[in-house]
Assembly symmetry: C2
Homo-oligomer: 159 residues x 2
């Protein structure tokens, strides 16, 4: 947990310092850039960018103020809204992407050998698969109530 926290902070620091863009913005811009027409429905974008709907709504409001994203109403569903990547937003992303890519390379990929990378991938996939499984079927009480008799001092898993 310590390692991943510091790693994420490093990624964010690099992106802020060298591209003046927080990771939250970057994530949103990337998702939009990948989508056909560089546009996505708000909910869809929220899911893809690891964000709650509320948070995304606020974020997009800020991104509109910077001019990187604009909202458009959806013609087929009058409740709906599209977030659309502007040209300025695309330019900002093009400038930021190599910085982030290099940051990830420097601090993560270059530090690990081929075998470690393969294992990291397999670990991540395993955890992801597990989490998605339990999200589909919300956990019963018994899933988390194990026998704890004398097994752990308080600090065992804190870092």
């Amino acid at each position: 947990m310590l390692a991943t926290n510091l790693l994420f902070e490093q990624f964010d620091r690099d992106l802020r310092r060298r591209a003046s863009m927080p990771t939250t913005y970057y994530e949103v811009l990337v998702r939009l850039s990948e989508a056909p027409g560089r546009r996505l429905r708000m909910s869809d974008l929220a899911d893809r960018s690891q964000s709650s709907r509320s948070r995304l709504s606020h974020t997009v409001t800020r991104l509109e103020r910077t001019g990187w994203v604009r909202r458009e109403t959806c013609p087929t569903d009058l409740r709906g809204a599209f977030a659309v990547l502007t040209d300025a937003g695309f330019d900002a992303l093009v400038a930021a992407a190599p910085i982030h890519v290099e940051s990830v390379r420097t601090h993560l990929f270059d530090q690990l050998d081929r075998h470690q990378l393969e294992e990291l991938r397999s670990v991540s996939e395993r955890i992801l698969e597990h989490l998605i499984t339990i999200q589909d079927r919300p956990p019963s009480e018994s899933d988390l109530l194990g026998d704890l008799t004398g097994r752990h001092p308080i600090s065992d898993t804190a870092t």
Copy 2:
């Protein structure tokens, strides 16, 4: 990044739902409980609990309001302050710890085999070592300016 994000969110959800305690509080209480006299200087506590001094100061103010921590002035350094874990704070931690431990076991350790755990440990140590190294010696420009010629589509490292 997706896996670790979801994993942390799951830990936090479990702790909030079943122990009414956010991970930030838990982290602080654990560090204090480990310290001799269940007390630490603010700066020391900030370092150990992955927090900025400012953030810790605010957090401790909130923890004082819940009655889990109290501040004490330092006799040998009049600028200094101790954060001290109260009995109520210790009780809250004793209640929360097994929940968190079980959460970590369920969502992380139980999902991986012996070999994956060993590799995950080695990966974490490697990354940690790297990050500590570059923190000691702040990065020169050239550390991050690599040759990017045509290597990465934008989305390569986004998740």
